[in-house]
């Protein structure tokens, strides 16, 4: 599985663990609910830790955990659900999150430019052949009118 990170196509080294699956060795991401329930155990995990956010999740609940996380995934159930854009902004600007912020799920490659502007730096493609499209879409515009994260 390959993704885009910092404008390069790289291998995804993370395992994205379902709520009812056991935590394997290596770098793992879990849902916010699982993170909140099992944080006391997960912080002893040997690999890196990440959290997956649904658009309805309150980002600010991660305020105390930001330094522990090396991946946050914004999971789009539907490309039209724009809450993830504000989640990204809040993570970067309000919580000062500096590690990998990855879009995943049903977003459109055509939204990659906006996602990058609100601080998303990694993209999990829906389909393998979207990889070069997303890379190209990051350069849709060379100018912008307003402040955001980037």
């Amino acid at each position: 599985m390959q993704i885009i990170k910092d404008k390069h196509i790289v291998d995804d080294t993370w395992q994205h663990i379902a709520d009812d699956a056991t935590i394997p060795a290596g770098d793992v991401s879990v849902s916010l609910a699982r993170w909140q329930q099992e944080k006391h155990l997960l912080i002893h995990h040997k690999g890196k830790l990440g959290v997956r956010l649904h658009p309805a999740d309150a980002v600010t609940e991660l305020a105390g955990d930001i330094s522990r996380l090396e991946l946050i995934e914004l999971d789009f159930p539907d490309f039209a659900d724009g809450r993830s854009f504000s989640q990204a902004w809040l993570l970067r600007e309000r919580l000062g999150y500096g590690a990998e912020l990855r879009a995943t799920g049903q977003y459109m490659p055509d939204q990659a430019f906006y996602l990058a502007r609100v601080g998303v730096n990694a993209f999990n493609p829906e389909k393998f052949k979207d990889l070069p499209v997303i890379l190209a879409k990051l350069n849709d515009f060379t100018v912008n009118y307003q402040r955001s994260v980037n």
């Binding site: 490309f79 039209a80 659900d81 724009g82 809450r83 854009f85 504000s86 902004w89 309000r94 459109m108 055509d110 939204q111 430019f113 906006y114 996602l115 502007r117 609100v118 849709d140 515009f141 060379t142 100018v143 912008n144 009118y145 307003q146 402040r147 955001s148």
Partner: protein, 550 residues
């Protein structure tokens, strides 16, 4: 008016290239219907009953003669020789081909125009007072702020996939001509006790299915905080607006369900966290104002004697001056309405030939600028009174001088079932019927100020709920019926019209309107307008007559 710099031009050019690619992908089958829909809507393209429709943005209603000529060219080359001005100061083409829309957008970009965010669940074109900068009751010209907002809203990365559409209107005058109380955000330029101009901020107004008057969430906002305050409102809306039901997704529902105190607290709390460090600088505002400096008015306009002579000698001219011109802040000048409500033409429609002629007249008589109004007419904002007679004669020859601005036949009307796939009922044909019944201009002038707003479905594009008389098309088991409301207003004393009674059949609409006007003529007090009479007597005298034979 505002002129693009290199950044503005690059942005619209890159947008055209982006949309061209998206359209090609769609036509090749690489992009799904669902996804292309979201992308094309954000470029103004709807799929209607017969063909796509392209809605082009006219920022706060301002056009140059060069842009008008481009619209004429597009109407001629890509459409059926006409276009349609809307109630939100934009313009629509009803017959473009989907594969040609990137070319049309490229043509528009050459004259600093675009269709970005004219539809879709995003921030739409910012609207304003059609008399901005020339009216006598202005506190400050709102257009520089409109342009600041236009730029901020355009391709905003965080707020392009909102729960629902989002509309901002700005008014700078004592009299609100921009219906700011019926917008998602309404901004009113006001002075504080020290005489410094800032904004009164209203949120949660809207028409459509659930008409609601906006609420003031901040009585005074300093100018420099304009964009951070908007950002706070939009972030709260984007995060908490309902996404489970599109009929409950507008910010007005969030405000209602949250409660104004809590909603305001949420916005203020967000704003406190972001307001510092992103102020609008005085230099930015000054630079923007430089785009809207008054034109070179002739100081001797007021000394002209011919205008008074023509007024006295030509009663048709005098009537037109009375109804289709308004006072200007510069003595000797007038703002002139071009009526797009000739009796035999669908409201708001203009042909390519008329557009070219309008551009020529604007060059000659009004500093090469034209404005669009919320009631689907056009304005030459700066006409020397010396030129009025000659201008009137030429407008009359173009069928643009029907002296009916603000009267019963200045009906605003959506495209209805003739074009729109949302409509339940037709509106253009019934409007024509009403027009035919009101063919006696003396009678129309006697009735005086009257706003009839006619929508073909409850989405309310023609703002029927704030019409003095509102007409709303509804579907009853496959037949077209019409609900009538009375007493609506989008002016300072905003009101939502009250329903007269059961809907009437299509064949009875015109007679119903005629009956309502008869009741008014019989029962009005001296000098009392239709709206004032409805406020005084309520709807029962009208009900009694309209439903007398039922």
């Amino acid at each position: 008016m505002y002129q693009y710099n290199e950044i503005d031009q690059t942005l619209v050019d890159e947008r055209v290239a982006q949309f061209r690619w998206q359209t090609e992908q769609f036509l090749k089958g690489e992009l799904s219907e669902d996804r292309f829909r979201a992308l094309r809507l954000r470029n103004g393209i709807y799929i209607q009953i017969h063909a796509p429709m392209l809605r082009v943005a006219i920022p706060y209603g301002l056009l140059s003669s060069k842009q008008i000529r481009k619209l004429a060219h597009i109407a001629r080359t890509y459409d059926k020789n006409y276009c349609h001005f809307t109630t939100r100061q934009n313009v629509q083409f009803n017959w473009p081909k989907i594969e040609q829309t990137p070319d049309i957008l490229a043509e528009l970009a050459t004259v600093q125009m675009h269709a970005i965010q004219t539809s879709g669940n995003c921030m739409r074109n910012t609207t304003s007072d059609h008399l901005a900068g020339v009216c006598v009751d202005e506190i400050e010209d709102p257009r520089p702020y409109c342009e600041v907002i236009r730029q901020w809203t355009t391709l905003h990365p965080e707020f392009d996939y909102l729960p629902r559409k989002f509309k901002i209107a700005v008014s700078g005058a004592v009299h609100d001509r921009a219906a700011t109380q019926f917008h998602d955000v309404g901004l009113h330029l006001v002075k504080n006790d020290a005489g410094v101009v800032g904004f009164k901020v209203l949120v949660g107004g809207g028409l459509g299915r659930t008409p609601i008057i906006g609420r003031v969430i901040r009585p005074y906002l300093e100018q420099r905080h304009l964009l951070s305050y908007l950002e706070a409102i939009l972030r709260i809306y984007n995060l908490f607006g309902r996404r489970d039901n599109k009929y409950k997704a507008r910010i007005k529902i969030l405000l209602k369900e949250t409660g104004i105190e809590k909603f305001t607290a949420m916005v203020e709390q967000e704003w406190q966290l972001i307001k510092d460090g992103r102020e609008l600088s005085a230099d930015t505002v000054t630079a923007m104002k430089a785009h809207f400096i008054p034109p070179a008015y002739l100081p001797n306009a007021v000394g002209d004697k011919s205008f008074a002579l023509y007024l006295a000698s030509d009663s048709a001219f005098a009537t037109w001056v009375k109804y289709n011109t308004v006072a200007h802040k510069v003595t000797g000048y007038k703002a002139v309405f071009l009526s797009l409500k000739a009796p035999d033409v669908p409201p708001g429609d203009v042909t390519d030939i008329q557009l070219d002629a309008i551009a020529d007249l604007a060059d000659r008589y009004s500093f090469s600028e034209v404005r669009t109004t919320h009631r689907q007419n056009l304005i030459f904002a700066d006409v020397n009174q010396t030129d009025l007679y000659a201008l009137w004669q030429q407008l009359d020859a173009l069928k643009l001088a029907t002296p009916n601005i603000g009267t019963a036949t200045d009906i605003i009307c959506c495209p209805g079932l003739d074009f729109c796939s949302l409509a339940n009922a037709s509106s253009i044909d019934v409007t024509k019927e009403i027009n035919d019944a009101l063919d006696d201009m003396d009678y129309v002038h006697d009735i005086g100020e009257l706003k009839i707003n006619f929508s073909g479905c409850m989405n309310g594009c023609a703002h029927q709920s704030v019409g003095h008389i509102g007409i709303l098309g509804v579907d009853k088991k496959g037949t077209q019926w019409y609900q009538i409301t009375l007493g609506g207003s989008s002016d300072n004393e905003a009101a939502i019209g009250e329903r007269l009674g059961p809907a009437v059949a299509k064949s009875e609409v015109t007679q119903t309107i005629v009956t309502i006007l008869d009741v008014y003529v019989q029962q009005r007090l001296e000098e009392e307008s239709f709206l004032d009479m409805v406020k005084r007597v309520g709807i029962s005298p009208f009900q009694e007559q309209v439903y007398a034979n039922h």
